[in-house]
Amino acid sequence: MQALQQYNRAIISRLNLIGIAVTLLLLHTTASARDLSSEPITPISPISDLNQAKVDLGKVLFHDTRLSSDNSISCASCHDLKSGGADSTPLSLGVNGTKGTTNTPTVYNTQLNFVQFWDGRAANLHEQINGPVQNPVEMNTHWPEVTTKLSQDVLLRQAFEAVYPEGLKADNLRDAIAEFERSLITLNAPFDRWLKGDETALTDEQQQGYQLFKSYGCISCHQGANVGGNMYAHFGAVNDISAYFETRGTPLREADLGRYIITHDPLDRYLFKVPSLRMAAYTAPYFHDGAIPDLDSAIKIMGRFQLGREIPNQHITSISAFIRSLAGEHPELSE
C-alpha cells in the first residue's frame, strides 16, 4: 500500500495535467480496490433488537444511587458515560470511600466482550451487574434491599409494571440495566469508517500505526470488533511479569493474580481478559491495576512483556494515534 502511494507520488510530479487526471482515475480504482474484508479488526455494527422501553428504564437505574447501600453511588459514578465510560482514578472509590480492587473498565461496548470483569468471572452483563452492587467495596448492598428501596418509588414501580409483567424485581432491574448497557456501543469510529472504505478517515500516521500494530503482533490478542475482549491472555506472555510488579511500587495483591482467583489453576496465574482497545484512548489509567497513567507507557509495557520487544518511541506514537482512531460515537458521550 505504502509502496503504491510512493509510486503514485513519484509519477505525479512527472506527468502533465492530462496525466494527473488519468492517474487520479487510476488511484481511485486502485484505492477502491483495496480489500479490507479479511482484516482482523471488524467494524462495530449497530444493535437492531433493542427494547427502547427497557433501555430507558435501565438508563434511569444506571444513574440511580439507590443501588448503593448509602444511596451515594450509582453505576454512573464510576462509569462516567461522558468520559469514555470509566473514571480517571486507578481504583474507583465505593461507598464510605473504600477502594476497589481493579481499575474500572469502560462500560462502552461491553456487550461485545466474551466474558465480563478482568478475570472473566461473569459470563454476561446480567451476571456482571451483581458484582458492583454486592461488592462491599463498591455499592455494598444486596438485591432485596435495592428492590425494597426502589419499590417505594411509585413512579418507578409503575414504569416497571408497564414494561415487565412481573413488575419491579431484581431480575428485571438487572435486565433493564443490561439492556441499557447493550445500547452503549460506539459507532462510526474513524477506523471503522476507514475499514468501510473511507480512506480519508485515518491519517497517514494512524494508518502506519495500524501497520505497526499488526506487524508487532499486538493484533494477535487485540482483534475482532472490540479490538480485544474475546480471549484471555497472560500478563507477561513472553517476559516474566514480576519485573512489572516489582517496579510498580505497590505490593502484589490478590487481584494481580487474574483468573487464578477464580479457577485456582496454576496455569491461570496472571491470566486476564484481553481488554478492548476501542475506548482505550479515553480510559487512562491502564491495566487491571490502573497503575500506568498514559497510553504510550502502556503500549511500551505491552511490547516488553507481551511481545518481548522494546518498541521505539516513534512507533509507539503511531500506534497510539491508531488506537485513538478506534473510539466511535455514542449520544451519551457527546451529551
Binding site: S38, E39, P40, I41, T42, F114, A123, N124, S215, G217, S220, C221, Q223, G224, A225, N226, N230, M231, Y232, A233, H234, A237, V238, L267, L271, Q306, L307, G308, R309
Partner: protein, 1068 residues
C-alpha cells in the same frame, strides 16, 4: 323401551369418552416436543463440529480474530440458559438426562480447552512473527552466526509445520549449543524457546482437546434418546389400534340405531296419518302444537277457517308466527257465555269460538268452532235491544193483562221509576189521577181490535211532578194472530211545550225592544226585522226581506272595514263596533252594531243576528267632550293640551320632510289693564276678536292656539327660512295695532312676539315653547309691539340654567349648602330674640352663589322641596347645638315658598323633622311670602293653620311688595309681618316710604301682629323705627348673616352695643 334407550345412550357416551381419551393419549405423546428435542440435540452436534473447525483454524494460525468462536460459545451458553429449552429435557428418564449431562460436560471441557488454545495460539503466532526480524538483526550484527541461525530457524518452521516432538527436542538441543553472548543471538534463543514451549503446550492442548470423548458421549446420548422415542412411538401404535377398534364398534352401534329409528319412524307415521284423517273429518278446526310451541298437526277445516294462513300450516311453524298471521285478519271478542272463551271475528265475516287448551306434553291444542250463524242472529237481537235501550222515546211493554213487563231506560228516566219497581204493575202507576184528557174505553177498544192508538197523557212522575207524554200504543201478536203484548211508545213533550212558551216570549222581546234587530240567512239575505228596526231605519219588514244589508251602506266605511267585519264573524262568530249606515230617507247615522253568527245543533251556520242602536246622540255628546278637552271654550281655538299634542306631530312631520317650523309666542300688551278696568266679559270679547284677527293672518296649514290668559301661540309649518316667521310675526303685530271697538269704547292693545324655530333652536315641542316664551319676554323688555327670535345668548342662558340645575342637584348630595344666620334684635329687650336662617351655596368651582340666583331655579325645578327640608332640619339641629351652648331663648326663622306647599310640604312633614331632631316647634318661625295669599284658598288657610296648631309661628316675608292688602290678612293665622327692606332703605328721608311704613305699623298693631323691619342699616333708621314703635330690627346695622359658629359672639356683641345705639334717655 326407556331402559333400552338409556342403555343405548349410556353406551354411546362411554364409547365417545373412550374415543376422546384415546385421541388425547395419542396426541399427547409429545411428537412436537420430541421433534424440538431432536433439533436441539442436532444443534449441539452442529456446535460441536463448528467448535472443532474453529479450533482447527485457530491452532493453524489462520484465524484473523476470535469473534466467531466467541459468538459460537455465547450461542451455546444462551441455549443452556434458556429455561424453555432446559424445560424440554426436565422430565426425561434419569439415564437419558445423565447422558445429556455427560455430553454437555464434554462440550464445556472442549470450550475451556479452546480458550487456552486461543491464548497460546496468539503467543505462538507472535513468536513466529518476530523470528524473521531477529534473523535480520543477526545478519546485520553477527554475520558469523547467520548460518546456524538459518538452520535453527528452518528447523523451527519445520517443527511448526509438522509438529513432531522429535524436531522440538532436536531444536532445543541445537539451541543449547549456541552459547554466544551476542544480544541478538540471545534474543533469538529466548524467543525460539518461548515459541517452542508455546507450540508444545499448544500441541498438548490440541491433543487433550481431541481426546475429549464428545463423539462417544453424543452417540450414547443420541441412541439413548432414540430408544426412548421408539418406546413412546410403540405406545402410540397400541393406542392407535385401540382407537380403530373402538371406532368400528361405534359405527356398528350407529347402524343398529339407524335401523331401529327407521322402524319407529314408520310406526309413527302411520299413527299420524290416522290421526290426521280423524281430525280432518271433524267439523271444528283443529291445530296441535308441541312443547316447543311448534305446529305438529292441523286439520282441513283449519285451513278452511283461516284461508290466509294456509301456507303456514306446515309442521314446524312456530305457534307465535301462526298466531300473528291469524290475528292480522281477525279481532277478538269476549264470548258472552260464562266460559269467558274468546271469539274471533275474522275479516271474512266468520265468528270462531276459540278453545286453546294445554296438552300434557306442554304443548297446546287449538279447537275453533264456527258460530257465525248464531252470532249473526244474536247481533240482530242486540241491535233491536240497543235501539230499545237507547231510544229517545219511552217504551213500556205490558202483557195481555195490561201488567208491565218491561220499561226502557228512557221510560225510567222520564217517570223516575226503575224497571224493578214497575214490573208486574199496571201502567196506572204513571197516572196523574184522571187529569189526562183520554178516553180509556176508546183506547182499549182500538188496541184490542189490533189498531194502534195515539194520544197525549198527563202523567205523574215518581217525585210527584207532572209531565206530558205523547203515546202510541199497539198490540203485538204471535204467529197465530193472538195478542200477547202491548207496546207503548211515548214521548215526553213537556219540554217541547216549554220551548213553545219560550219562543212566544222571545217573540215579544223581538217586537218590543228599542234596539233594531235584523236576522239574515247565512248568505246575508234578510229574513226578518223587528219594529225597532223600522223605527230607526225607516225600512219596514216588507221593504227589506230578501235583500242584503248592503242597501244600508253609507259608503263611509272603506272596503277593508267590511273585510275585517267578516273575518271577525268567521273567526269569533261575532262582531261589534261602530258603523255609519243610511236610513231609508237617505240620511246617514252612526249605529253601534253587534252581529252574531247563530249556529244550529250541528254547529253549522244557521243565521246572522244583527242588533244595533242609533248612536247619533252619543256621537254628538262625544264630539262635544272632545271639543271641550281640546279647544278653548272662549275662542274655539285649540287649547294648550291640543297644541302640545299637535306640536309633537308637526315636529315628526318636519323630521320626515326635513323642513323647519317656527313657533310664535304672542303675549298681548296692556290686556291686563282692559280686564282689570272693564271687567272680564269685555276681556273675553277682546280675546275673541284677537283670535279672529290672528286667524286671518295665518295660512291654512298653520296652527293657532290659545295658550292661556292673553297668550296665543302660532305654529308655522313648512317654512323655507326663518324670514317667513319674522314676516308672520310682523303681520301679527300689525293686525293687533288697529283699535278694538268694545263696550262702546275704542281700545288699543299690542302684542309682543317671541319666535323659536325647529329644529334650529330646539329639539322638541316643549323646549320650543319655552324658548319662544323666553324670546317673547325679551321682546317685551325691548318695548311693546316687538318680535324677537330666540338667539344664541338665550341658548347660553338656557344652557347655564341646565348646568346650574345639574349642579344644584349635586349640591344637595354633596352638602354644598350652608346656613348663615342673621340676628333679629328686639329694641325693648335690648337683645337678639331670633335669627333668620339664610341659605348659602358654596359651589366647588364658582364659589359662593347667591340665593337670588339659585332659589328661583330650585323653585322651578322642584328642588326647593329637598332644599327646604334640609334647611329646616339643619336649623333644628342648630337650635339644639346652641341650646347645648347655653343659648336657649333664640328662635329661628325659616323661609317656606308656596311651591313647597304644592310639592307636599306641610305641618306634618315639618313636625316629623322637628320632633326627630328634638326641637320645640315654638322655636321655629315659618316665613312665607305674600303670593301665597293670592290664591286665597281655603286649602292654603288650612295648611297654615296646621303649622299654628303645632305651636310654630308664621311670618309674612317681604311684606309690602305684593298685592295683598292688610285687611286680607285677617283671614290668615299670621303672627308676624316683616317689612320689606325696600321700604326701609330710604327711611327716614323718603316721605312716601315713611308714610307707608307708618301705615303698616299702625295697621299691624290693630291686627295684633308683631312687626320686624328688614334691611336696617343705619342708626337713623333704627331710631326712626324705634320711634314708630317697631320693636324688632333685622339688618346690617346689627349684623350681616354669619356662620352658625359666629352667632353666639355676635349676640354678645349686639347686647353690648344696644345701650350706645339706644341710650336710655332716648324717649319715644
Amino acid at each position: 323401551m326407556i331402559w333400552f334407550k338409556a342403555r343405548l345412550y349410556l353406551t354411546s357416551i362411554l364409547a365417545i369418552t373412550l374415543l376422546g381419551w384415546l385421541f388425547f393419549l395419542v396426541h399427547d405423546e409429545h411428537s412436537q416436543t420430541n421433534q424440538q428435542r431432536s433439533e436441539i440435540l442436532l444443534q449441539l452436534q452442529a456446535f460441536d463440529n463448528a467448535l472443532d473447525l474453529e479450533v482447527l483454524v485457530i491452532s493453524s494460525m489462520r484465524q484473523q480474530n476470535y469473534d466467531e468462536i466467541v459468538k459460537l460459545t455465547q450461542r451455546l451458553q444462551q441455549q443452556e440458559n434458556n429455561p424453555k429449552i432446559a424445560g424440554l429435557f426436565n422430565d426425561l428418564p434419569p439415564p437419558l438426562s445423565d447422558k445429556l449431562r455427560q455430553y454437555r460436560s464434554t462440550l464445556h471441557q472442549r470450550i475451556n480447552l479452546a480458550e487456552q488454545i486461543k491464548t497460546l495460539a496468539a503467543e505462538v503466532r507472535n513468536g513466529l512473527n518476530y523470528i524473521p526480524m531477529l534473523v535480520s538483526a543477526i545478519a546485520e550484527n553477527d554475520r558469523q552466526y547467520l548460518l546456524p541461525t538459518r538452520e535453527i530457524v528452518s528447523r523451527l518452521y519445520h517443527y511448526h509445520i509438522f509438529k513432531s516432538d522429535l524436531d522440538a527436542v532436536a531444536l532445543k538441543e541445537r539451541l543449547a549449543q549456541l552459547t554466544n553472548p551476542s544480544a541478538s543471538l540471545q534474543a533469538l534463543k529466548f524467543h525460539i524457546n518461548s515459541s517452542l514451549s508455546a507450540q508444545t503446550q499448544l500441541n498438548q492442548l490440541l491433543q487433550k482437546y481431541q481426546q475429549v470423548p464428545n463423539k462417544v458421549a453424543f452417540n450414547q446420548l443420541y441412541s439413548a434418546y432414540l430408544s426412548h422415542r421408539n418406546k413412546a412411538t410403540q405406545k402410540t401404535d397400541y393406542l392407535n389400534s385401540a382407537l380403530i377398534g373402538l371406532t368400528t364398534v361405534l359405527i356398528l352401534l350407529l347402524s343398529f340405531l339407524y335401523l331401529h329409528l327407521g322402524r319407529s319412524h314408520n310406526q309413527t307415521e302411520r299413527a299420524q296419518r290416522r290421526l290426521k284423517d280423524g281430525v280432518d273429518n271433524i267439523r271444528e278446526a283443529f291445530a296441535l302444537f308441541d312443547a316447543d310451541q311448534k305446529l305438529i298437526l292441523s286439520n282441513r277445516n283449519f285451513a278452511h277457517y283461516y284461508p290466509w294462513v294456509s301456507e303456514l300450516l306446515q309442521p314446524g311453524t312456530p305457534k307465535a308466527v301462526l298466531q300473528t298471521a291469524i290475528d292480522a285478519k281477525c279481532h277478538y271478542q269476549q264470548d258472552n257465555d260464562s266460559d269467558q272463551r274468546l271469539v274471533q271475528h275474522t275479516d271474512n265475516g266468520h265468528y270462531l269460538l276459540c278453545s286453546d287448551n294445554p296438552t300434557n306434553e306442554g304443548g297446546e291444542v287449538w279447537v275453533r268452532i264456527d258460530i257465525s250463524d248464531t252470532r249473526h242472529k244474536e247481533q240482530e237481537l242486540r241491535k233491536f235491544s240497543r235501539a230499545l235501550t237507547q231510544s229517545p222515546a219511552a217504551v213500556v211493554i205490558a202483557d195481555i193483562n195490561g201488567l208491565i213487563e218491561y220499561i226502557n231506560p228512557k221510560a225510567e228516566e222520564v217517570s223516575g221509576y226503575s224497571l224493578a219497581e214497575v214490573v208486574g204493575k199496571s201502567p196506572n202507576v204513571f197516572s196523574s189521577g184522571g187529569l189526562s184528557p183520554v178516553n180509556y174505553q176508546v183506547m182499549w177498544q182500538q188496541m184490542l181490535s189490533g189498531q194502534a192508538w195515539q194520544g197525549n197523557f198527563l202523567n205523574r212522575r215518581k217525585n210527584g211532578s207532572l209531565y206530558w207524554e205523547a203515546a202510541t200504543i199497539s198490540a203485538v201478536k204471535d204467529p197465530r194472530g193472538v195478542i200477547t203484548h202491548f207496546v207503548a211508545v211515548k214521548e215526553d213533550i213537556t219540554e217541547r211545550r216549554a220551548t213553545e212558551e219560550q219562543l212566544r216570549m222571545n217573540a215579544a222581546v223581538f217586537e218590543t225592544t228599542n234596539e233594531g234587530i235584523m236576522i239574515t240567512t247565512p248568505d246575508s239575505k234578510i229574513i226578518s226585522v223587528n219594529p225597532a228596526f223600522t223605527k230607526i231605519t225607516g225600512y219596514t219588514q216588507k221593504d227589506v226581506v230578501g235583500n242584503t244589508p248592503q242597501i244600508f251602506q253609507s259608503g263611509k266605511q272603506p272596503k277593508e272595514f267590511y273585510e275585517g267585519l267578516w273575518r271577525s264573524l268567521e273567526k269569533n262568530n261575532s262582531w261589534s263596533g261602530e258603523i255609519w249606515n243610511k236610513r231609508k230617507d237617505g240620511s246617514l247615522y252612526p249605529q253601534w252594531l253587534s252581529i252574531a253568527a247563530v249556529q244550529n245543533h250541528d254547529g253549522l251556520l244557521a243565521q246572522y243576528v244583527a242588533v244595533f242602536s242609533d248612536m247619533t246622540q252619543r256621537k254628538n255628546d262625544e264630539e262635544q267632550i272632545r271639543q271641550q278637552a281640546n279647544f278653548d271654550a272662549l275662542t274655539s281655538l285649540p287649547n294648550r293640551t291640543m297644541l302640545k299634542r299637535e306640536l309633537t306631530q308637526i315636529q315628526q312631520r318636519c323630521d320626515e320632510k326635513g323642513c323647519q317650523c317656527a313657533l310664535l309666542f304672542i303675549d298681548l300688551d296692556r290686556f291686563k289693564a282692559v280686564n282689570d278696568t272693564l271687567g272680564h266679559s269685555v276681556g273675553d270679547q277682546m280675546l275673541q276678536q284677537v283670535s279672529l284677527r290672528l286667524s286671518s293672518v295665518i295660512r291654512e296649514q298653520d296652527l293657532i292656539s290659545r295658550f292661556g290668559g292673553d297668550e296665543f301661540v302660532i305654529v308655522l309649518q313648512d317654512l323655507v327660512d326663518s324670514e317667513e316667521a319674522a314676516m308672520t310675526a310682523k303681520r301679527v303685530i300689525d293686525i293687533l295695532q288697529p283699535p278694538f271697538q268694545l263696550a262702546g269704547r275704542t281700545l288699543y292693545i299690542g302684542a309682543s312676539v317671541g319666535i323659536s324655530c325647529y329644529p334650529n333652536d330646539s329639539d322638541n315641542g316643549e323646549v320650543m315653547l319655552r324658548h319662544a316664551d323666553m324670546a317673547m319676554y325679551l321682546a317685551k323688555d325691548r318695548g311693546r309691539n316687538q318680535y324677537q327670535f330666540f338667539n344664541s345668548q338665550m341658548r347660553e342662558e338656557v344652557k347655564n340654567r341646565t348646568e346650574m340645575e345639574q349642579a344644584l342637584r349635586q349640591a344637595i348630595n354633596n352638602h354644598e349648602f350652608e346656613l348663615y344666620y342673621q340676628p333679629i334684635s328686639n329694641c325693648q329687650q335690648h337683645k337678639v330674640i331670633a335669627a333668620e336662617a339664610l341659605i348659602r351655596w358654596q359651589h366647588p368651582e364658582k364659589g359662593l352663589i347667591s340665593p337670588a340666583e339659585f332659589i328661583p331655579l330650585a323653585e322651578e325645578t322642584g328642588l326647593i322641596q329637598p332644599i327646604g327640608l334640609w334647611v329646616l332640619r339643619q336649623s333644628c339641629e342648630q337650635i339644639i347645638e346652641w341650646q347645648q351652648q347655653g343659648i336657649n331663648d333664640l328662635s329661628i326663622s325659616v323661609n317656606v315658598s308656596s311651591n313647597q306647599r304644592l310639592l307636599g310640604f306641610d305641618a306634618k312633614v315639618a313636625a316629623e323633622i322637628m320632633y326627630s331632631v328634638g326641637v320645640d316647634p315654638s322655636k321655629i318661625i315659618f316665613e312665607i311670602t305674600e303670593n301665597m295669599f293670592l290664591e286665597n284658598s281655603t286649602e292654603a288657610i288650612t295648611w297654615l293653620k296646621e303649622f299654628k296648631a303645632l305651636g310654630s309661628k308664621l311670618a309674612i316675608d317681604d311684606f309690602g311688595t305684593g298685592y295683598s292688602s292688610l285687611s286680607y290678612l285677617k283671614q290668615f293665622p299670621i303672627d308676624k309681618l316683616k317689612i320689606d327692606q325696600a321700604f326701609i332703605r330710604d327711611l327716614p328721608d323718603n316721605q312716601e316710604d315713611a308714610t307707608l311704613v307708618n301705615a303698616i305699623i299702625a295697621m299691624s298693631k290693630s291686627l295684633g301682629l308683631e312687626l320686624i323691619a328688614e334691611g336696617v342699616e343705619t342708626v337713623e333708621q333704627l331710631h326712626y323705627l324705634h320711634q314708630l314703635n317697631c320693636p324688632n330690627i333685622q339688618g346690617f346695622l346689627f349684623s350681616k348673616p354669619v356662620k352658625a359658629e359666629q352667632l353666639p359672639a355676635v349676640i354678645q356683641q349686639i347686647k353690648a352695643v344696644f345701650p350706645q345705639l339706644l341710650p336710655s334717655d332716648y324717649e319715644i
